[in-house]
């Protein structure tokens, strides 16, 4: 409420007992970055419960087809793969609910944490990242940054309205610390290295 805005700001101004403190300069902490970021990414992704698919030089989409083992609609948000469903301008967020597998491309990856970044540009409809039962993700290995400091230097953060790091599948351990994948979001998350054309 408008009166509260002024009241809160006034109280803050009156209560600055700490004096002005300097803003620290945050380094990138990337001096020790390994040459092979792909290997580090894979290790971190697996630690977070994700899976890496083995690339196929002859038939690049074969690993995706092989990863689809359950019946149910497959939604593709990438030109490289033909699914049963496509996003149209009429698609509503709840229309994604019946999807078994969604095939997406990540904007970039983070080796430190095995994270994949998606914005509305890759998701098309934001719920494609969360309502399907399983995700299969294409990641261009040249788009892997070393750590989170490097990740926040990327342009996506000031271009997109929505951006998310997904690091493995949905997980919970709220009952006696037992790890369960697929608490609310996706039950599994697989990644295939696939250069963007």
């Amino acid at each position: 409420m408008s009166g509260s805005r002024e009241a809160i700001l006034d109280t803050i101004r009156k209560n600055h007992v700490q004096g002005e403190r300097a803003r620290p300069n945050v380094p990138l902490f990337d001096q020790a970055a390994p040459a092979d970021l792909n290997a580090l990414f894979q290790k971190s992704l697996e630690r977070m419960g994700g899976k890496m698919l083995t690339p196929d030089a002859v038939d690049p989409m074969a690993p995706v087809r092989q990863a689809i083992v359950k019946s149910g609609p497959v939604l593709s948000c990438v030109p490289a793969f033909e699914g049963d469903m496509k996003i149209t301008p009429q698609t509503k967020p709840t229309d994604i609910a019946p999807v078994e597998y969604a095939v997406l491309r990540a904007a970039f990856g983070v080796a430190e944490t095995g994270s994949l970044c998606f914005t509305e540009k890759q998701l098309l409809v934001n719920t494609t990242g969360f309502l399907p039962q399983h995700l299969i993700i294409l990641l261009d290995p040249s788009q892997i940054v070393y750590n989170l400091h490097n990740a926040y230097q990327r342009p996506e953060w000031t271009q997109a309205h929505y951006a998310v790091f997904q690091s493995g599948p949905s997980a919970t351990a709220d009952i006696e610390g037992v790890l369960v994948h697929g608490a609310q979001g996706v039950r599994s998350l697989s990644v295939l290295f696939h250069p963007a054309s």
Partner: protein, 507 residues
């Protein structure tokens, strides 16, 4: 309810993983036992934490599981810490960034408001919990919302948000599993990160059997989680609005960030056409460089996991939808002016201080009878109500472990001591403590009386019947035994062994 068990749930590979809140080793309750309930609340009367703690400790299976589970999280945190060479530097940076932001909080709040508004977010200001609730209700009513899906937020716990919405006929569905368990059991969260950590699997089975129709005899964690997923999914799809909190608010980009392991915040925010976020004003940080520091520290400190499964950044509404942010004060601007206690505002709600605290691990979060439990609760709760929470600063061994693990370097144990002094100065001290303090004060004030009392005390410790030391007045003695008392005081030993020697040296 028969839940469809998916093969991912029984993936043997998953047993070797310990990301998220998972235990690093199998911990399983062996027996079922009635769940001890939290502190008894009597209006504004001081909460008796030790009474509730006694009942928790009497439930031995609950106490043992709780202790083991949280200590395991603390050990996972240590392992992560050792994997990051710059850990201490990150803690220093996090502390410095928070102190800088708090010292210019008015500037950063206005900067966030300007940038978020430019991106299409509607920003509201609430001076307290009641005003937050009223603002949110007004938004919901004007759009005919009857069902709201929500991710976990400690701020809404502060505001009594769920109770208020229930009175106003808005159905609120918590989507974090732990928080949903607590909602269905009509109980507050006991921990800021793992809200149902005080419950055994059998407790959850009994709550779900009563509320969502699961099999009362099946207490398997996979089965129970799956039942909850199946019961919640239709509610997510039919809700007209979604609500989240915010872990961090980035002023320079007008972004707010939400961290979850279940993806429930993303579902709550992205499925319905309306997203409301209520966020405390202390969550501000300047820019994205700063955000990196906190994302690296948060989940590692909380759960010993490198990052939360989902780290979600909201900077504006998606096409055809609305986004609102309510900036909530609720006592924070006043706390900013408290010379000794303002650093408590640096807290990022990771819960590391709870996991490491021997009192918290053995007494359970609900024994504190307040929104915030554990060490951070001891120094925050009295700022909300000094009389009601006057006993809490005594629920500490003062071992300082909370301060050592805090990712933003809050001097928690020093603030606990400062609260004890402040409360005594304000006359907020229980009658029992008053009598004991007076006696101790008289003895400590005179060196002669003090020295004379020591051999007496030593002999008393050795010869007094156990019930004299371990009685109701001495809450410290519960679940502890005193170390064996030495045969002589230090002064006696010194006179006998060293005094002549030392005096010889001087001459």
């Amino acid at each position: 309810m028969t839940a469809e068990l998916h093969e991912e749930l029984t993936d043997p590979h998953a047993d070797q993983l310990d990301h998220g809140a998972a235990s690093s080793r199998p911990l399983k309750s062996r027996i079922s036992e009635p769940q001890p309930r939290g502190a008894k609340i009597h209006g504004n009367r001081p909460v008796d934490q030790s009474e509730a703690a006694n009942r928790f400790m009497a439930a031995t299976e609950h106490e043992a599981m709780h202790d083991a589970r949280l200590w395991d999280l603390r050990q996972k945190r240590d392992k992560e810490m050792h994997g990051i060479e710059e850990w201490e530097e990150l803690r220093n940076l996090a502390s410095g960034i928070k102190e800088h932001t708090l010292s210019k909080l008015d500037y950063y709040l206005e900067l966030f408001e300007k940038n978020a508004t430019a991106n299409g977010i509607k920003v509201h200001w609430a001076k307290d919990g009641a005003e937050n609730n009223a603002i949110v209700l007004e938004i919901l009513r004007s759009r005919g919302v009857e069902r709201l899906i929500k991710s976990k937020s400690m701020l809404t716990e502060e505001c009594g948000f769920r109770e208020f919405m229930a009175e106003n006929n808005v159905e609120v569905i918590e989507t974090d599993l732990g928080e949903r368990i607590q909602q269905l059991d009509d109980e507050a969260p006991s921990h800021v990160v793992v809200p149902a950590v005080h419950k055994l699997r059998t407790d959850v089975a009994s709550v779900f059997a009563k509320t969502i129709g699961s099999d009362p005899d099946n207490a398997d964690a996979h089965y129970l989680t799956e039942c909850q997923r199946e019961a919640t999914r239709p509610l997510i799809l039919s809700a007209q609005a979604g609500m989240t909190g915010g872990n961090f608010v980035v002023a320079e980009t007008g972004t707010f960030v939400v961290c979850t392991n279940e993806g429930n915040a993303d579902l709550s925010a992205n499925t319905p056409p309306l997203h409301i976020a209520s966020i405390g004003i202390e969550k501000l940080i300047p820019g994205l460089d700063d955000l990196a520091v906190f994302i690296r520290l948060l989940s590692r400190s909380a759960l010993g996991s490198p990052i939360t499964q989902y780290t979600s950044h909201f900077r504006g509404p998606r096409k055809g939808s609305e986004m609102h942010v309510v900036l909530v004060d609720n006592g924070r601007s006043a706390r900013l002016g408290m010379e000794k206690f303002w650093p408590g505002l640096k807290c990022i709600r990771c819960g590391a201080c709870m996991n490491t605290c021997p009192v918290f691990r053995r007494s359970g979060g609900l024994s504190y009878g307040a929104t915030y439990a554990g060490p951070i609760g001891l120094i925050i709760d009295p700022t909300f109500n000094v009389h009601k929470y006057r006993n809490l600063p005594y629920s500490s061994t003062m071992n300082g472990s909370c301060t050592n693990v805090c990712p933003v370097k809050i001097n928690i144990h020093e603030q606990i001591a400062d609260w004890r002094r402040t409360l005594a100065g304000e006359g907020e001290i229980s009658p029992v403590k008053k009598v004991m303090m007076k006696a101790a004060g008289e003895v400590l004030a005179s060196p002669v009386v003090y020295r004379a009392s020591l051999p007496l005390g030593r002999s008393a410790l050795r010869h007094l019947p156990h019930f004299m030391l371990y009685n109701k007045l001495n809450t410290w003695g519960r679940k502890r035994d005193i170390p064996e008392t030495p045969k002589q005081t230090f002064n006696e030993w010194y006179r006998k062994n060293r005094k002549q020697q030392d005096e010889g040296k001087k001459s």
